[in-house]
C-alpha cells in the first residue's frame, strides 16, 4: 500500500513545483506549495510507519526490473529522512509565509516556492533512489534549485555567492559523475545493489580503480556537503540567502548528499571493501579538523548569520567524523547528528533571520540587548545555541553523547578530546551572542520590551522546530534505536 508513496511524494513535489508558476498570485503559490509539502509529509510518515512495521523494500519505478530500470530503496533510514526533510521544509515553508515577502520582490515569491518544492523533491530523490545515475540527475536538479533559492534575493552578494556555489557544486557533481563512470566501467551496473555484488567479486583486481572512484565520490560529495576545507562556498551562500533559504540549505541540502555518501560507502562499496581502504581515515581526519576549524572560524566572525553558517561547517564535521569512525555506532551517531543539526540549525537560522529582518542589524556587536526587544526569538536562538553547545536535555547533548560512545566503542578514546573541545568552542561563540543579547546592560537602555518582536503566531514554526530539539534531547533514545535498527538495511 505504502510502497509507492516515495515516488508519489517526489511526483507531488515536482508537479506542484511546476504548477506554481502557472498561477500568478502569491497566495496560490503558497497554497499549492504548502499543501504539496503537507501531503508529502503525511505520505512520508505513512511510509515510515510501514517500513518500520515490515522492513526495507525495493520499489520499481517504471516497467523494468533492477539492472535496467530504476529502483527506489526504502529502509528505515530513508523513511526517517523523508519525515525529517518534510517536517523541516514544512516548518520553513510555514515560516516563509510571514517572512519571505520581506526579502524578495513580489514577483519572485512564486519562484521561491517552485524552487523549494523542486529542491525538496530532488533531495528526497537522492535519498530514495537506488540508482547512481538517477542520483546524479537529482543532484544536478538540487544544485540548480539550491543556487536558485540563494539568488532569488536579488542582491549582488547573493549573485556572487550563488555563482561560487554553482561553480563549486557543479565541479563536485562532475567528480561524482566521473566516479559513477568509473564504477560503471568496472561493473557495468548503475543499480547500487548490483554494483555491490559485482564489485565484491572483482575487488582484488581493480582495487586501484575503486580507490580513485571512492576518492572522487568523497571529494565530489564533500564539496556539496561542506566537508571542511571544501566548505568555502557555504558561508557566503548561507549568509546572504533569505532566512528560509538558509534554513533549508543548511538543514536539508547538506544532509541529502551525506546520506548519498553513506549509501555509496555502505551500499555501493560495502564495508568489506571500504574497510580495506584508507578512505575513512581521510573522512575522519577532515571531519575532526572540520569540527575544530569550523568553530574557530565561527568565533572569528562578526556577522551573526555568518557565524551560524560556520557553525554548520563544524556540525557537518561531526557527521563526517561519525562516518569516518566506520562503526555502526559511529554511523548511527552521524545520522542522529543529521537530525539534531537539521532541527537546531534551521531554528537558529530562522531566528537569526528574524532578528536581522526586524532590526536590520547583522553584526553581533550591534545586537546587544536584543533579548529585551525580541525575547521569544532570542529564547529560541538561545535554546538552539545551547543544544549545539551540548547542554543536557537538548538534542545536541545526546548527539555528542552518541559520538562519545561511538568513539569509545571504536577504541579511539583520544578522539573524545576532539568532540569535547569542539563543543567547548561552540560555547565560545554562542554564549557571547546570548549574553550580549540578554545582559548587555548598557545597551539595554532605551530598548522597549518586545517592541520589535514578531507576533507569537509567526514564531510558531520555529517553536515547532525547537520542540523537536527538546524532544530529541529528552527522548533521544527512541530515535537512536530506530536508526540502529535501520542501519543493517543499508548494507
Amino acid at each position: 500500500m505504502y510502497n509507492s508513496y516515495p515516488l508519489i511524494i517526489i511526483l507531488v513535489l515536482f508537479i506542484s513545483a511546476f504548477a506554481i508558476p502557472l498561477f500568478k498570485s502569491i497566495k496560490m503559490a503558497r497554497i499549492i506549495g504548502i499543501s504539496a509539502a503537507g501531503i508529502s509529509l503525511v505520505l512520508s510518515i505513512l511510509t515510515l510507519i510501514g517500513v518500520k512495521a515490515n522492513g526495507a523494500y525495493y520499489f520499481r519505478v517504471g516497467h523494468f526490473d533492477a539492472p535496467w530500470g530504476i529502483e527506489f530503496h526504502i529502509g528505515i533510514i530513508e523513511g526517517l529522512m523523508g519525515v525529517l526533510f518534510m517536517t523541516v521544509s514544512m516548518a520553513v515553508l510555514w515560516f516563509s509565509i510571514y517572512s519571505i515577502d520581506h526579502d524578495l520582490s513580489k514577483k519572485k515569491v512564486p519562484l521561491f516556492y517552485t524552487l523549494v518544492n523542486l529542491l525538496v523533491g530532488s533531495l528526497l530523490g537522492i535519498v530514495f533512489s537506488d540508482d547512481l545515475f538517477n542520483c546524479f540527475v537529482f543532484i544536478e536538479i538540487s544544485s540548480i534549485a539550491s543556487c536558485g533559492i540563494v539568488v532569488v534575493k536579488d542582491k549582488k552578494e547573493n549573485i556572487k555567492a550563488a555563482l561560487k556555489y554553482l561553480i563549486l557544486s557543479s565541479l563536485g557533481s562532475g567528480l561524482v559523475l566521473m566516479g559513477i563512470a568509473l564504477v560503471y566501467s568496472l561493473t557495468g551496473h548503475l543499480n547500487m545493489a548490483h554494483i555491490h555484488e559485482a564489485l565484491v567479486s572483482i575487488y582484488p583486481e581493480h582495487s586501484r580503480n575503486m580507490l580513485i572512484a571512492i576518492g572522487l565520490f568523497t571529494v565530489g560529495l564533500g564539496v556539496k556537503s561542506a566537508m571542511f576545507p571544501l566548505h568555502t562556498w557555504l558561508p557566503d551562500a548561507h549568509t546572504y540567502a533569505p532566512a528560509s533559504s538558509s534554513a533549508l540549505l543548511s538543514a536539508l541540502v547538506l544532509k541529502a548528499y551525506v546520506i548519498l555518501y553513506i549509501k555509496i560507502i555502505h551500499r555501493v562499496f560495502g564495508m568489506s571493501i571500504v574497510g580495506d581502504l584508507p578512505v575513512l581515515n581521510i573522512v575522519l581526519l577532515l571531519g575532526a579538523v572540520g569540527m575544530i576549524a569550523g568553530s574557530v572560524l565561527a568565533i572569528l566572525q562578526k556577522n551573526l548569520k555568518r557565524m551560524v553558517a560556520y557553525s554548520s561547517v563544524a556540525q557537518m564535521g561531526y557527521v563526517f567524523f561519525g562516518i569516518g569512525l566506520g562503526t555502526t555506532m559511529g554511523l548511527a551517531a552521524a545520522i542522529f547528528q543529521i537530525f539534531n543539526h537539521a532541527f537546531t540549525k534551521s531554528a537558529l537560522f530562522l531566528s537569526a533571520g528574524s532578528i536581522l529582518e526586524k532590526t536590520g542589524k547583522k553584526n553581533i556587536s550591534d545586537l546587544k540587548g536584543i533579548g529585551k526587544e525580541m525575547p521569544f526569538t532570542m529564547a529560541i536562538f538561545t535554546i538552539g545555541g545551547m543544544s549545539l553547545v551540548g547542554i543536557p536535555l537538548l538534542s545536541g547533548f545526546n548527539s555528542k553523547w552518541n559520538f562519545a560512545v561511538a568513539v569509545i566503542e571504536a577504541h579511539r578514546v583520544e578522539l573524545l578530546a576532539v568532540v569535547l573541545i569542539s563543543s567547548l568552542l561552540n560555547a565560545l561563540y554562542y554564549f557571547p551572542v546570548i549574553i550580549n543579547g540578554y545582559f548587555g546592560e548598557e545597551s539595554l537602555e532605551g530598548k522597549v520590551y518586545r517592541n520589535t518582536e514578531r507576533p507569537l503566531k509567526e514564531l510558531l514554526p520555529i517553536i515547532v522546530l525547537v520542540l523537536g530539539v527538546i524532544y530529541f534531547g529528552v527522548s533521544g533514545g527512541g530515535l537512536l534505536s530506530l536508526i540502529e535498527a535501520g542501519i543493517p538495511a543499508l548494507n
Binding site: P392, K400, A404, V405, L416, L420, E441, G476
Partner: protein
C-alpha cells in the same frame, strides 16, 4: 509519590516565573511572597527527605541518560544546609538588593538557582547531577553579572569559560566511566565492583575530579572565584561561598565515594598528585588572601583555601578525613556566609570596600563586627567554634594517613587565616588615632538577624557538634570500610 522530588525543584522555579512577571504593588507583599515561598520550599524539601520514597526514577532516555533522584544521607545533609541558608539569604537580600537595584531580576534567578541546587542535592546518578550542574552555571551567571558593568561582564565571561571547561571535562569523565561500568548511579562504595582498575578508570577519575574541581576552585582552576566577587554580596555569599563551590565539593564526594569508591581510588595511585594540587590550593589561597585589600576578594581567596581543606579531607579517604570534610562543608558554609554578610552590611551602610577604609567601623557597628570577629575566629579554627571541630577531624584524618605534612599545612594555613582576618577585626575595633567619625550605624533588622543567628550557629555547632557529628559519622562510616 515518585514525582514528589520534583516539587522542591520545580516550586522555586515556578516562584521565579511569578517573580518575573508579577509586578508587586507593595514592597512588603514582595517580601512576603519571597520569604514565604522559600520557606515553603524548605518544608517541601524536608518532606522529600522524610516522607518521600528514597528512590525516584523520573524518566529514562537511554541506559546512560536517566533522570533519577535519590534521597540518602549526603542529599539530606546538603539539601538541609542549602535550604536553611537560602532562607537567611533571602531575608538578608531584601534590603541589600533594594539598594543595589534590579531586584526583580535578581530574585528571579535567585529562586531558579534554589531549585537547581535542590536538584543537585537529590540527583541519584551523575547524569542527573550533570544536568543540574550545567543549569547551575547558567542560572547563576546572570547573578554574577548583575551589576552589568564591564568588569562584571568580564568576570561573568571568565566564570562561564571556567565552568564550561570543567563541565566538558566532567562529561568526558562520565563517558569514560560509563564505557567501563555501564551504569552511573550513585551507590555507596562505588559502582566499580568487579571492574579492574585500569588506565581508563584512573583517567576517568582524574578527569572527573579535575572537572568538578573547577567549581570547587582548586588551583589552577580557581581564578573565576575572586573575579566573580563583583557580584552583589548576597550572590557572593550564597553562591560563591555556599551553593556553587559547595556543589563542586559535593560532586567530588559523590564521585569519589559513590561512583569509584574509596578502595578503588586508593588503588589508583593518583591521590598523591591530586593532593599536591590541593595543598597548593590551601597555601595559595591563604598567601594571596593576605595580599588583598578588597574585603570581598580577601574572603574569596580565603574560600579557595578553605575549600582546599575539604578536598584534602576527601582525598584522605579515611573515616575521620571524610567526617572532617563533610563537617567543614557545612561549617565553612555557615562561617563564610556570615563573613560575607558582614562585609555586605559594611558595603551597604558605608560603601567601603577595602581594609584601609573600615578603620573604626566596629564602634558604629558593634554587632556586625562582633559577628565578623567570631566568624573569623571560627574560620581560623579556634575552639569552641565549629571551625575547630572540622579542623580537628581533618587533622586526625591526615595523621591516620601518616601525612603529618597535611596537618602542618592546615596549621600554617590557619595562622595565615589569622593573619588575613584578624587585621580586619583589629582595624575595625581599634582604629587608634586615625579613626574616622562614621555616620551610619547598624543595618536594618532584616539584615542583622541572619547574621546574628548564623553566628549563633557557628558557636552552637562548636559547643554541641554531636548531633550533626553523629549523622556525618554515620555517612562516612557507611562509605568507608
Amino acid at each position: 509519590m515518585n514525582f514528589l522530588a520534583l516539587v522542591p525543584i520545580a516550586f522555586p522555579m515556578a516562584l521565579a516565573v511569578g517573580m518575573h512577571f508579577v509586578e508587586f504593588k507593595n514592597e512588603s507583599y514582595k517580601r512576603a511572597y519571597l520569604l514565604g515561598g522559600v520557606f515553603l520550599n524548605f518544608i517541601f524539601a524536608m518532606m522529600v527527605i522524610f516522607v518521600a520514597n528514597p528512590e525516584m526514577h523520573i524518566f529514562k532516555i537511554n541506559d546512560f541518560m536517566e533522570i533519577y533522584f535519590k534521597v540518602d544521607g549526603m542529599s539530606k545533609l546538603f539539601i538541609t544546609m542549602t535550604s536553611i541558608l537560602w532562607i537567611f539569604t533571602t531575608a538578608y537580600s531584601f534590603d541589600y538588593m533594594h539598594h543595589e537595584g534590579k531586584e526583580q531580576k535578581f530574585f528571579t534567578y535567585f529562586l531558579v538557582t534554589y531549585g537547581v541546587i535542590v536538584g543537585i542535592s537529590l540527583a541519584g546518578n551523575i547524569f542527573t547531577f550533570y544536568i543540574f550542574y550545567e543549569f547551575l552555571t547558567l542560572s547563576t551567571f546572570p547573578l554574577v553579572i548583575h551589576t552589568g558593568t564591564k568588569e562584571a561582564l568580564a568576570s561573568g565571561k571568565k566564570y562561564l569559560i571556567y565552568s564550561f571547561s570543567g563541565a566538558t571535562l566532567v562529561l568526558l569523565g562520565m563517558i569514560l566511566l560509563f564505557s567501563v561500568t555501564g551504569t552511573l548511579d550513585f551507590v555507596p562504595g562505588g559502582i566499580l565492583e568487579g571492574v579492574a582498575i585500569n588506565n581508563r578508570v584512573t583517567a576517568a577519575y582524574v578527569i572527573l575530579f579535575l572537572g568538578f574541581s573547577v567549581k570547587a576552585a582548586m588551583v589552577p582552576f580557581h581564578s573565576w572565584l575572586p573575579a566573580a566577587m563583583v557580584a552583589p554580596t548576597p550572590v557572593s555569599s550564597l553562591l560563591h561561598a555556599v551553593a556553587v563551590v559547595k556543589s563542586g565539593i559535593f560532586a567530588l564526594i559523590r564521585i569519589t565515594f559513590y561512583l569509584f569508591g574509596a578502595e578503588a581510588v586508593n588503588a589508583m595511585h593518583v591521590r598523591g598528585y591530586l593532593s599536591i594540587l590541593v595543598a597548593l590550593t590551601i597555601l595559595m589561597g591563604s598567601f594571596v588572601a593576605l595580599h588583598q585589600e578588597n574585603l570581598k576578594k580577601r574572603l574569596a581567596y580565603s574560600t579557595i583555601s578553605q575549600l582546599g581543606y575539604i578536598m584534602l579531607g576527601i582525598l584522605l579517604l579515611n573515616e575521620d578525613g571524610l567526617t572532617g570534610a563533610l563537617l567543614h562543608l557545612i561549617n565553612h558554609a555557615v562561617i563564610k556566609i556570615t563573613l560575607f554578610f558582614c562585609v555586605g552590611i559594611i558595603m551597604l551602610r558605608t560603601g567601603y570596600k577595602t581594609i584601609g577604609e573600615i578603620r573604626g567601623i566596629g564602634k558604629k557597628m558593634p554587632i556586625t563586627m562582633g559577628c565578623f570577629s567570631i566568624a573569623s575566629i571560627s574560620l581560623i579554627g579556634i575552639p569552641p567554634t565549629n571551625g575547630f571541630v572540622s579542623k580537628w577531624f581533618l587533622a586526625m584524618g591526615g595523621l591516620q594517613e601518616n601525612r603529618a605534612i597535611f596537618v602542618v599545612i592546615l596549621l600554617v594555613s590557619a595562622i595565615l587565616t589569622a593573619a588575613y582576618l584578624m587585621p580586619i577585626v583589629i582595624t575595625a575595633f581599634f582604629p587608634g588615632e586615625m579613626g574616622k567619625e562614621l555616620e551610619n550605624s547598624e543595618p536594618p533588622l532584616m539584615m542583622l538577624i541572619p547574621v546574628v543567628v548564623l553566628t549563633g550557629i557557628t558557636v552552637a555547632f562548636g559547643l554541641f557538634p554531636n548531633f550533626i557529628l553523629h549523622f556525618i559519622q554515620g555517612i562516612s562510616r557507611s562509605l568507608i570500610g
